[in-house]
């Protein structure tokens, strides 16, 4: 029997599905974080050039990847909203923005703390860092735009347009180290292979999955709260066991 995916475009169907998925992703994130930190701090060797400070890589790279990935997913939901006008699309985009902003801030913060001992500076206006900072401002702009528009459905559409316009920044971030001569190093992980020690790479990839699971879990918790906030008068909300006590 074919699975009808469009059924989950309805908040009434997606709400219980999200509730089922949250513990799996939440506990998955905790377990993966424990494994990733063990690999990163107990197994991976000290870097011969950077010493111990390179261990910031285990949160810097995953947060930087997630900051871009979450933006693309948010823009994808925005495109779905503009194309199909589904209620869930706007709610998902709204739920992703704060976590995307958090990941972007973490990437910038950890990058600064890595930059000081290795480059001698917390910040440089090079293409990679500046475009990542623009990403943070885009997230803030989308959150602020939503707050400025009272009617949720209008806010959804305005934020969808802004997120789609801003998606042009993602390839700029990714390719900035190739297109321009930057202080920031080039990609260490490519489709052709990785230019780092195997246990370092393993720790970084496990932590990336941990961040991914964390982001999914918190976005699902937030989207469930948004559904309750927006649809609290609906019959399906009244039928929920946590509401109808």
């Amino acid at each position: 029997m074919a699975l009808n995916w469009t059924r989950f475009a309805s908040p009434a169907s997606f709400y219980p599905l999200a509730g089922t998925m949250i513990p799996w992703f939440g506990w998955g994130a905790a377990v993966l974080t424990a494994i990733g930190l063990w690999l990163g701090f107990a197994v991976a060797p000290t870097d011969f050039q950077q010493g111990e400070v390179y261990r910031i890589i285990f949160i810097h790279v995953p947060s930087a990847w997630m900051s871009m990935f979450l933006y693309v997913v948010m823009a994808f939901w925005g495109a779905l909203l503009l194309g199909f006008n589904t209620r869930l699309s706007g709610m998902m985009a709204q739920a992703i923005a704060p976590t995307g902003a958090l990941m972007t801030f973490v990437a910038l913060w950890t990058g600064a703390l890595w930059g000081r001992p290795t480059w001698g500076t917390y910040w440089a206006w090079d293409a990679r860092m500046t475009s990542e900072l623009i990403l943070l401002f885009l997230y803030f702009g989308i959150i602020a735009l939503r707050q400025a528009i009272g009617e949720p459905r209008r806010a959804d559409r305005a934020c969808a347009v802004l997120s789609l316009v801003g998606v042009v920044n993602i390839p700029i971030i990714y390719y900035s180290v190739k297109w321009w001569n930057t202080l920031h190093q080039g990609a260490s992980v490519k489709a052709t292979g990785a230019s780092m020690e195997t246990t370092m790479l393993a720790g970084m990839l496990v932590m990336s999955f941990a961040f991914w699971f964390y982001a999914i879990a918190v976005v699902l918790v937030r989207v469930r709260a948004i559904m309750l906030e927006r649809e609290r008068g609906a019959a399906w909300v009244a039928g929920l066991p946590e509401v109808n006590r």
């Binding site: 810097h60 947060s63 973490v106 913060w109 709260a225 906030e229 609290r232 009244a238 929920l240 006590r245």
Partner: protein, 46 residues
């Protein structure tokens, strides 16, 4: 300069921000459930 300060600063702030996000979400969820319960009860009172 001891590089462990930079590592602690990076990991500490990241964990702190994630904890703040989780606590804020729990608060928001409880508020959303309470608001939904209130909207369920209000027609009966009127």
């Amino acid at each position: 300069m001891n590089h462990w300060y930079f590592i602690l600063g990076a990991y500490g702030v990241t964990v702190l921000l994630m904890l703040v996000e989780v606590v804020a979400l729990r608060t928001r969820r409880h508020a959303a459930v309470a608001a939904a319960q209130a909207s369920l009860e209000s027609p009966r009172k009127s």
